[in-house]
């Protein structure tokens, strides 16, 4: 039995390959940014003395201009609130592309979206000083949520804006709305409810509406229309935000070149006409699109989408109107100039008399501000520079993403500019100064864009290649090499030589790193070990090529086996489509049920049919617990998406019943180990019962939960005591222990789902153990470890992620699971404890199913074959199970790569990748536990060899 530990080592090796490749992928793909909670503050001009110092003791009188001059000559002075304030109406027309606003009467064959907004060009011609029309360049990702964040913070949002509160959608950074509210002014919101969720509780009045029905063109728009004119008349606000969605939805549904688009644009035209007519004289109107949309390409079927970085998607329009006229001359007001979306936040805050938001990287645009004297303009510009310098310093303190030398250079450059501001006296000099500042800010944006916006495609491709290598060769080995040979292969020197090769790789990498030939040690090690393992497994395949070809030539697998494999591939391939990810729970249960149905059909007895029906009923019962995500529409709007915080009486009864039922049934078959399960079960039930309702005692309940955990962990340790009674019982007990752990973290409301999952696994095991092998009535392990079993088990494990009420969205995660046994942060190892609890809460099902994979081969009549064959069968099953998850995560990574500029990549594909990665880790750990347990408990003496 030399191969015993070689098997385990091989599984560990494969897990390492998988995880390292996926981590490498994540490093290249998951753009992240650190959010800082800093807030810009400004000091009112009145607080300054004539010597330019704050709270100065000097009491002489001087003019405002002189004072500002003095302040400018002191570069270290704080940000200064602008003395002049306007009100701002910001109308966001979602997906307003720049060429929608162009007007050309003589255009030959105008498309549906041409010449539909004549008002804009009319105004620009009539009052060139009062209005501006610019190209408003968005940064990718051009998805609405990220764009909104960019517009109000002036930053470059990424998918993961890392902050203390990771899951909530609420903005954690300083932004113009917060600036307005903190200065005691009022902000009004109309339209898309994304704003209300980004910034809850900031609005004086908010008329927001659910906005996810992309097929509904009019509801939100007409709601906004019914309110906006009254709001504008009221005039008690300083910032009014209205978000129209119709154009975007028309683009999604029909594409830009469609009569519906023409209708929506004409509506927008009328709206603008009316707005400009009734606009109060002190209000600046900004009308902007947050992104563009792609052209209608009929033959490719792409239309009106956005999310990517093509020119059409990035070019939105910005139209500004102010009845007293903007500053700047002819060259500034040139129509169609390109400006960056990040520039809007500092500009709007300057118009409102506030400093730029702290994270802003934008450049103040004087042509979009009212006519102001040179000193005031300089005040705004230095405010902007000071805020950016502050941000650079703070970001350098908090994160190492940007190399320190570059940051230092940028900081020096901005400080130089601030000092130069004092020398600017007239318009000519101001113009030159503005150009300098613009160039500097452009450089600065470029540096951060590189880190936050651009994917590291090289490491993504490398990771995909490594994954593919690992999956392909391991698949060849496990599907190709005849079952009888597996034991011999692994008792040879194959695995030890792999270890030696690994050691050599790491040594070489480390020494080259030491001599500074390579920069990135981690990547080098992952890459070399991955390639070396590929080569070694390839060698193994070549050595056993005769066996592989012979097995494939002879083997004709049954229909259900082929179907099982194709079902797994199908479940992986559909991850490329967002609709299937959203409905993945239903898809997985459908496929699992079909595989098991075909197996039952193959058995062909009434008992199998009944078991199958029972399995189906269990899966149908879990449906009531399945979560609901925002994209699913109906169930979300009817409020089912909100998870119930505490359990109802019925839920408590169900939870207690399920746990006691499972414990009572399992106890009798487990021998002395049953007592441990019973005690843990009693603790669990008591924990729920004592903690329930208003009469419950939370502290005692938490004590009981800790007791339950203690028993579970102790039982798990005792499991490793050899008693020479075979491997079946320890495996079953592990399954039950994981069940109890799951029930504990899921809480009373969702605990029955863990019981249902256990039951469905049990029924599936019984069906599987009834399968006959082809041609012979004799029990054959080769049938029992066919890949369809592993596929079935993997699909079941993936399904129960959804079956236990989870969904692959970050907003859906409930964090209460960490605190059910008291706050772990008081412990010294509290961090680890909370991570483990959260992991079990989310991925407990793949863990449980992973640990019970060996049962697929051993359940039923396994005693009739020798331990060596049993072990080989368990190894084969475990590797196949791991391969199934590897294939799924590969598909996820691939779809994330394909869709990396897709509209839904941050909402659907990336969360799916993250959660699939979690499931994958859980499945790997679980199957390792299962395999190790089997290897540990298998009788050592070989009987039949």
């Amino acid at each position: 039995m030399k191969e015993k530990w070689n098997f385990i080592l091989y599984l560990v090796w494969f897990s390492y390959l998988l995880l390292s490749a996926v981590l490498m992928f994540g490093q290249g793909f998951l753009l992240s940014r650190k959010t800082l909670s800093d807030v810009s503050e400004c000091v009112y001009l009145n607080n300054f003395g004539c010597d330019g110092l704050e709270n100065s003791t000097l009491s002489s009188k001087c003019s405002e201009d002189e004072k500002i001059q003095k302040i400018l000559s002191l570069p270290s002075s704080p940000l200064i609130c602008s003395p002049k304030r306007n009100r701002v109406a910001f109308i966001l027309v979602d997906a307003l592309r720049y060429d929608f606003t162009e007007y050309d009467e003589n255009k030959e064959k105008p498309l549906f979206y041409h010449n539909q907004l004549p008002i804009i060009q009319k105004i620009v011609k009539k009052w060139p000083k009062r209005s501006r029309i610019f190209r408003f360049m968005a940064d990718p990702p051009t998805t609405t949520l990220q764009r909104l964040k960019a517009l109000i913070t002036g930053s470059l949002p990424t998918f993961i804006d890392m902050s203390s509160n990771f899951a909530a959608i609420e903005i954690q950074e300083d932004n113009i709305i917060d600036q307005v509210v903190s200065s005691g002014s009022k902000a009004i919101l109309l339209g898309d409810d994304t704003w209300a969720r980004l910034l809850p509780g900031r609005w004086a009045r908010s008329h927001s509406m659910y906005s996810f029905h992309t097929w509904d063109l009019d509801t939100v728009d007409s709601e906004v229309d019914s309110k906006i004119y009254d709001e504008i008349k009221k005039g008690d606000w300083d910032l009014l935000i209205a978000h129209y969605l119709g154009v975007d939805h028309a683009g999604h549904r029909y594409g830009p070149n469609h009569p519906e688009m023409a209708r929506k644009l004409t509506e927008t035209n009328k709206r603008l006409e009316k707005l400009i007519e009734m606009l109060p004289s002190d209000v600046i109107l900004y009308v902007a699109g947050d992104h563009g949309m792609t052209e209608t390409v009929v033959h490719e079927g792409i239309e009106g989408d956005h999310g990517g970085e093509s020119k059409a998607e990035r070019t939105a329009a910005l139209f500004a109107y102010y009845s007293s006229g903007f500053s700047g001359d002819d060259s500034d007001r040139m129509s169609g100039r390109e400006i960056q979306q990040t520039d809007l936040a500092p500009t709007i805050s300057a118009a409102l008399g506030r400093p730029p938001p702290a994270p802003s990287l934008g450049n103040l645009l004087l042509p979009l501000l009212p006519n102001i004297p040179v000193t005031h303009a300089l005040l705004h510009l230095t405010n902007n520079l000071k805020q950016v310098t502050q941000y650079l310093i703070r970001y350098g303190e908090e994160s190492q993403q940007v190399p320190l030398e570059r940051l230092a250079n940028l900081i020096n450059a901005t400080r130089n500019q601030i000092e130069k501001a004092a020398d600017v006296k007239n318009d000519m000099e101001l113009r030159a100064y503005v150009d300098d500042v613009r160039e500097l800010m452009g450089n600065l944006r470029g540096v951060f864009r590189e880190v936050w916006v651009e994917f590291d495609s090289l490491s993504m491709l490398r990771a995909l290649l490594l994954l593919l290598l690992a999956i392909f060769f391991n698949w060849l080995i496990i599907e190709g090499i005849p079952f009888e040979r597996i034991s011999n292969v692994f008792s040879s020197s194959f695995v030890p030589s792999v270890l030696v090769a690994f050691g050599v790789c790491v040594g070489i990498c480390y020494s080259t790193y030491y001599f500074q030939v390579i920069d990135d040690l981690g990547h080098a090690i992952v890459l070399t070990t991955g390639l070396v393992s590929g080569a070694l497994t390839c060698m193994l395949v070549i050595m056993h090529w005769d066996g592989i070809t012979q097995r494939w030539y002879e083997g004709r697998s049954l229909f259900y086996e082929r179907f099982g494999r194709s079902a797994l591939f199908a479940s992986a391939i559909v991850l490329v489509s967002n609709s299937y990810i959203i409905e993945e729970g239903a898809t997985l249960s459908f496929l699992t049920l079909t595989i098991l149905g075909l197996m039952a059909w193959n058995i062909g007895t009434m008992k199998a049919l009944l078991l199958w029906a029972g399995f189906g009923a269990v899966m149908a019962l879990t449906r009531t617990y399945r979560g609901c995500r925002e994209e699913q529409g109906e169930c979300w709007t009817s409020g089912e998406g909100m998870s119930a915080g505490s359990a109802t009486r019925a839920a408590l009864v169900l939870a207690l019943g399920s746990v006691s039922g499972v414990v009572a049934t399992a106890r009798r078959h487990l021998g002395w180990r049953g007592y441990g399960i019973v005690i843990a079960g009693i603790f669990t039930c008591a924990h729920w019962a004592v903690g329930w309702g208003s009469l419950g005692s939370p502290s005692r309940s938490k004590m009981l939960a800790r007791g339950a955990w203690l028993v579970i962990v102790t039982m798990f340790v005792i499991l490793w005591k050899r008693d020479g009674r075979g491997t079946l019982l320890p495996l079953v007990v592990t399954g039950l222990l994981f069940y109890l752990a799951n029930a504990l973290v899921l809480g009373a409301a969702y605990a029955p789902t863990a019981g249902l999952a256990l039951l469905s696994g049990f029924l599936a095991l019984n069906i599987v153990s009834m399968l006959k092998s082809e041609g012979m009535a004799k029990f054959s392990l080769a049938t029992r470890c066919s890949s369809s079993m592993a596929c079935l088990w993997a699909l079941l494990a993936s399904y129960h992620f959804y079956g236990t009420g989870h969904h692959a969205t970050l907003g859906h995660v409930r964090w209460t699971a960490v605190f059910h046994a008291g706050d772990p942060n008081y412990l010294s190892i509290g961090h680890i404890v909370s991570v483990v609890l959260m992991f079990i809460y989310l991925f407990g099902m793949p863990l449980m199913f992973g640990a019970t994979v060996p049962l697929l081969g051993l359940w039923g009549r396994a005693g009739s074959v020798g331990p060596r064959t049993q072990l080989a069968a368990v190894f084969t099953l475990c590797l196949k199970f791991q391969l199934c998850f590897a294939i799924r995560i590969f598909a996820c990574a691939l779809s994330a790569t394909i869709h990396c500029r897709h509209l839904m990549v941050w909402g659907v594909f990336t969360p799916k990748l993250l959660f699939e990665f979690g499931s994958c880790i859980a499945a790997l750990i679980g199957s390792l536990i299962g395999a190790t347990l089997t290897a540990w408990h298998i009788p050592c003496q070989t009987r039949n060899s």
Binding site: N578, S579, A586, F590, T594, A613, G616, M619, A620, R623
Partner: protein, 236 residues
């Protein structure tokens, strides 16, 4: 080439398949021209089921009556009790389809009417022809694989039709989750049409196979096609 009995049976198989290939598409065409295609899930479209019922009954009369001419001794007259038994069996089968469909993911508490329509059409296309041809006992035996049947017989055709119908309904479910918001994605239209499509394809395959078999002597390339179709069909 074929024995006489086999030849006659083949002819009957061909003709009944041809009839199916004509009447099913015509029903679908007519209702889609009337704009009723998307209401097949409602109880108001019972007439479609009735038409299918009548057509299948006629077909089985055709298949059986020729049988009577061949060997009058064997067949006994259908008694009312047989009919009652068959009806009960069909209703039971319909409800098991109903439950099976719900297990596979149809809504549990709503859309019962639609699910019932789907299960009815599945019963009509799969079990009804089988029972009308062989009677309840043999149908049950065939279902559970107790009785075997040989290739290119009426029973083989009926069993393969039934299997492909179920496959078609299964495949129809694939389009339901997609977010295209088309009217034909509503439950149970894709499965309903998938079942009918599967049945139709099975019949087309039968006709093609018989045509190729008759010409296989002249053009050997057809043997390849026959082999492929034989792969698709199951036979015991």
């Amino acid at each position: 080439m074929f024995s006489l009995n086999n030849n006659v049976e083949l002819r009957r198989v061909t003709i009944s398949s041809l009839i199916t290939c004509i009447y099913l598409p015509s029903i679908i065409t007519v209702i889609s021209y009337k704009g009723l295609l998307y209401s097949v899930g409602n109880a108001s479209s019972c007439y479609v089921l009735f038409l299918i019922f009548v057509a299948e009954l006629m077909k089985s009369f055709y298949l059986n009556s020729n049988n009577d001419l061949q060997n009058k001794r064997k067949t006994s007259k259908t008694t009312p009790s047989d009919i009652a038994k068959a009806t009960i069996f069909l209703i039971a089968a319909m409800f098991s389809f109903f439950i099976g469909i719900i297990l596979f993911g149809a809504p549990v508490l709503e859309y019962h009417e639609e699910t019932l329509m789907l299960s009815t059409v599945l019963t009509l296309l799969t079990l009804f022809p089988l029972i009308a041809h062989t009677g309840v006992e043999s149908a049950v035996q065939l279902l559970f694989g107790v009785r075997s049947f040989s290739r290119d017989t009426i029973i083989a055709m009926l069993v393969n039709n039934a299997l492909l119908t179920v496959c078609g309904a299964w495949l129809g479910a694939v389009v339901i989750p997609l977010d295209w918001n088309t009217p034909w994605q509503k439950w149970p239209i894709p499965c309903y049409l998938g079942a009918i499509g599967g049945y139709l394809i099975s019949n087309v395959l039968t006709v093609t196979k018989v045509t190729m078999m008759s010409e296989a002597a002249k053009y050997p390339i057809f043997k390849l096609g026959i082999n492929i179709i034989n792969r698709l069909h199951i036979s015991k």
